[in-house]
């Protein structure tokens, strides 16, 4: 960045909330999209470019790959929730038909411990899937079986067996942020004392204990890879959310694979939802089996493995308390939570303190180790569970204070975008008219209710992405980046952003993704793929346009400052006519050599309008008080995600998140056998996912916010909309039946129990 670059004024904001700010534009960068810009491609409704491959069956996913000489890998898994592998006898398996290689995990991963049922122990590669399956069954493992704890309660009980190792505690202390143990102790005590004081002073106090279940990602394409060694180099087809992290892992000198170079290919990925980062053990096993077998190895998990060994959203138990003044303004909050992370220490915290303005907070999160499959990031990790509890408690507070729940939220929220969204959403759902004024009352078994909840996310993206654009002399344009599309429509928006700069249509552009031979793109986590990559695409396309315009300006002695591309030809920016029509193709013919290439990196973020994106959701439900069945009839979502690059695919993301949220609120639940540590519903009929019959009518309003954070002003939208859904539904259920279900999933049984207890309490 040059030191004396001048600041420029840009307009940021949305609808009638626009303002001017001055920013110092990065060298090389283009001004962020402005509300006054006119667009031909960006922000339009465009069909996904890969839709045709997907509706014809032509799209080849990792699971569909077949290479010459390819063999199949299968993993033998522990039947014990906690054990030590003493030895593995593979004498019989080795001699079985078709078997090409066998590996023992303790040799590869340097640990003999298995800490949950389903953790891998050994793997086999054989000519057919059936032969591999037969061979793993013939492996004889000698285990030292160890005591275990499957639930939080068991793991926290006095004298509970150590879940992970004898020298690690089952309950992981909250993050100390650099404080010593003593300082941390004092800090927590101070925090408690301070909030106790505040609670003593407020007018209203509400509290509640909430719990949420373990949710399993269950992408339809399971985790897995096809590994193919070419000399010392490794080619990996992977079903992944991070092509480059897989490449890094395969080539790391500290990892077990140690390829000289690796190329990771993910042309199509059958869903991810947060669980598919890195090669994981199955990927590493496949690479090593392939080396041993000297054959390409196809290793994809089956459904049971996907449910038990490929991550999940942790459960939570949350003790919440709010103190409010007489006007319903929150003064203080206490939120203590416990969540199971599996045997590891990954974050099982319930996030619930970021949306509303709360002056004093006593927040403590405990992760509790259990002998169950490991938690991994799942679509807005920590937030849906936190929001379910806090949004429920906010409605309880509104009752206590005696004001409308939406009004209560508005009094405690200062985000300019969300403040507008509350009103828009309330209007769309008919909040005033349709809210149940007599919860649980009235005639008939079916009760209707409305509920509201909000979300916040941080999807402004950041550096680390690059884009390569190549234009042939014949006018063919290719746009390349090595990232992956897990179902969001990445190819399509890349083409839209590039097309806009080059004055072309998206069908004039070929996009390539999912290949680490192309420029780097970060993993698809935190909803950052779009805001991280699109600015790079735009700079590259912009510079390409400038180079091409230079060719024509020099040739025809035109003033390049006045030129731009529009609708396939060179035009003047001021709309005046040029003496001569020059098409994009004609300009490309001026390219010296065969091809013009530009490779550009994404630059740092600007201050912009808002670093977070926000949304509000409303649920309209019907509850059958005789059967306890909850039906979500309608969901309304107002969502901000910066400048929306493709309205069609962005709206699909919101709809999909809402359906997953409905599923989380009402159905999904990992059921563990506490005695044996087995997951009892590791399939798709007993692990219930919302189907078409449970899909509500969904109405989405996408707010177009010129946030000015980057040159495309775009943000990510995959995660934020799932945060609010369960909370909105829980509030709607309470509004319908006049009593609250404090835990999700809100099953018929829980509804009936709540109704029964309601009678008692009164």
């Amino acid at each position: 960045m040059s030191k004396n670059a001048d600041k420029v004024k840009i307009t940021v904001g949305f609808e009638d909330h626009l303002k001017e700010i001055s920013v110092k534009i990065n060298d090389n960068d283009v001004l962020p999209y402005q509300p006054t810009d006119s667009f031909d491609e960006v922000g339009q409704d465009r069909d996904r470019l890969d839709a045709i491959a997907k509706v014809t069956g032509a799209a080849r996913y990792t699971f569909d790959r077949k290479l010459d000489g390819m063999v199949y890998g299968r993993i033998l898994r522990s039947p014990h929730p906690h054990a030590k592998v003493l030895s593995i006898d593979s004498t019989v398996a080795k001699k079985m038909p078709g078997v090409k290689a066998i590996i023992e995990f303790h040799e590869v991963f340097r640990t003999r411990a298995v800490r949950y049922v389903g953790e891998g122990v050994a793997a086999v590669a054989a000519e057919t899937e059936a032969q591999a399956e037969a061979a793993i069954r013939a492996l004889k493992v000698d285990y030292e079986v160890l005591p275990f704890a499957v639930t939080k309660e068991d793991a926290m009980a006095e004298g509970a067996p150590a879940v992970a190792s004898p020298n690690s505690s089952n309950v992981i202390a909250p993050r100390a942020w650099g404080r010593s143990e003593k300082e941390q102790q004092a800090h927590l005590e101070d925090q408690k004392a301070e909030t106790d004081e505040a609670f003593a002073e407020v007018k209203h106090v509400v509290s509640g204990n909430f719990s949420t279940q373990v949710q399993v990602h269950n992408a339809l394409e399971t985790h897995g890879v096809v590994c193919h060694w070419q000399g010392e180099n490794l080619k990996i087809y992977a079903s992944t959310q991070g092509t480059f992290s897989c490449r890094g892992q395969a080539t790391s000198s500290r990892g077990p694979i140690k390829a000289r170079n690796a190329r990771v290919l993910s042309e199509y990925v059958g869903g991810g939802f947060g669980a598919k980062f890195g090669l994981r053990r199955e990927g590493v096993a496949a690479a090593i089996l392939a080396k041993k077998a000297k054959r390409p190895v196809h290793l994809m998990l089956n459904r049971r493995e996907e449910q038990t060994d490929a991550g999940n959203r942790p459960d939570s138990y949350q003790e919440l308390k709010l103190g409010l003044d007489s006007k319903g303004r929150i003064q203080v909050m206490r939120a203590h939570s416990w969540g199971t992370a599996g045997p590891g220490r990954s974050g099982a915290g319930a996030r619930n303190s970021i949306i509303y303005n709360i002056p004093k907070i006593d927040k403590v999160e405990y992760n509790v180790r259990t002998n169950c499959g490991e938690a991994r990031a799942m679509r807005a990790p920590g937030f849906p569970q936190g929001a379910f509890a806090l949004e429920s408690l906010l409605d309880m507070a509104a009752d206590e204070v005696g004001i409308d729940p939406v009004e209560l939220r508005k009094r405690n929220d200062s985000h300019p975008i969300r403040l507008a969204e509350y009103d828009m959403g309330a209007k769309m759902i008919g909040w005033r008219k349709n809210r149940n004024r007599n919860p649980g009352g009235g005639k008939g078994a079916i009760k209707r209710g409305l509920g509201c909840a909000s979300n916040e996310w941080f999807a402004a993206g950041g550096r680390g992405a690059a884009c390569l654009i190549r234009v042939n002399k014949n006018g063919h344009v290719e746009v390349r980046s090595g990232g992956q599309d897990i179902g969001t429509g990445l190819r399509t928006i890349m083409a839209q952003v590039a097309a806009e700069e080059l004055g072309l249509g998206i069908s004039d552009i070929e996009t390539f993704i999912g290949d680490t031979n192309d420029p780097r793109c970060p993993g698809s986590g935190g909803s950052t793929t779009t805001p991280s990559l699109m600015p790079a695409v735009r700079i590259a396309a912009h510079r390409m346009a400038q180079e091409l315009l230079t060719l024509v300006a020099e040739k025809l002695k035109w003033d390049i400052e006045k030129l731009t591309f529009k609708k396939g030809a060179v035009v003047r920016k001021d709309d005046k006519k040029l003496k001569k029509t020059v098409t994009f193709k004609q300009v490309c013919a001026l390219i010296e050599g065969e091809v013009l290439e530009i490779n550009e990196k994404r630059l740092a973020n600007y201050g912009g309008f808002s670093s977070t994106n926000s949304g509000v959701q409303f649920a309209d439900v019907e509850v059958d008080t005789q059967t306890g069945v909850v039906r979500v009839k309608r969901m309304v979502a107002v969502q901000d995600s910066g400048v929306i690059l493709n309205t069609k695919t962005a709206e699909s993301q919101v709809r999909g998140a809402i359906i997953q949220g409905v599923s989380y609120a009402l159905f999904e639940n990992r059921v563990m056998d506490r005695q044996k540590g087995h997951m009892l519903n590791a399939d798709l009929e007993n692990y219930k996912i919302a189907g078409a019959l449970e899909c509500p009518e969904i109405e989405v309003k996408l707010l177009n916010v010129f946030n000015g954070k980057n040159n495309t002003s775009s943000m990510g939208i995959g995660e934020p909309p799932i945060i609010a859904t369960a909370g909105a539904i829980a509030n709607a259920v309470a509004n319908a039946i006049g009593v609250r279900v404090m835990s999700i999933p809100i099953t018929p049984k829980k509804v009936l129990e709540a109704l029964k207890n309601k009678g008692k309490r009164k």
């Binding site: 069909d47 996904r48 839709a51 045709i52 491959a53 997907k54 509706v55 014809t56 069956g57 032509a58 799209a59 080849r60 996913y61 699971f63 569909d64 077949k66 039947p79 019989v92 079985m96 057919t128 059936a130 032969q131 399956e133 037969a134 069954r137 013939a138 269950n218 992408a219 339809l220 394409e221 399971t222 199509y268 059958g270 869903g271 939802f273 089956n302 459904r303 049971r304 897990i486 179902g487 969001t488 429509g489 695919t649 709206e651 699909s652 993301q653 709809r655 999909g656 998140a657 359906i659 590791a682 399939d683 798709l684 009929e685 996912i689 919302a690 189907g691 078409a692 019959l693 899909c695």
Partner: protein
Amino acid sequence: MSRDNKATEETQGVTRRGFLKGASFAAAAVGTGSLLPPPQTASSQNEEEVLILGTEETKIALTINGENISTEASPSTTLLDLIRGPLDLTGSKRVCDRGSCGACTVLVDGKPICSCSYLALDAQGKNIQTVEGLMVGDKLSPLQNSFVSCDALQCGFCTPGMLMSCTALLEKNPNPNREEIAKGISGNLCRCGTYQNIFEAVHKAATGGGK
């Protein structure tokens, strides 16, 4: 019950070898899916040899997407594994392998079935249609077109199965309402959450908008 479970169950009750002695292999295959070991002399566990009958590759003739095909497969092969494997039609997916998700849906004589739970041998002489056979000449079918324009797919992994169920539905009921569409695809799971887009796509195709 998944294979892993099955294995424990079998070793607890009857051993698999004992079970195979008493029952025909084909019967065992129906229960346990397509990954059972192919014909072998089962001498792995101890020295005794067991002769397993009926596991030789058998000729199967069927029509797939209008083409007459004659191929060979062992009797335990599912229709899904046959079309994905030797026939290399990988549009149909294996997601649960036990009839609960619909990702493997194909049409057998016009009826949607889960090809993961249907033996290839039972398709003998039948007319099979897979997602690869939906195009009309080199044009997308109206339903495929409306799936594209209504964005009725995200990751696309459930899409082939969805298209087959919707094709069958429209055949039976050319103008279904939202609820009828939902029922028609109630056996197909989509983890990305495309149901509402699918309702719109089917409606569009039914009302002539998918052309």
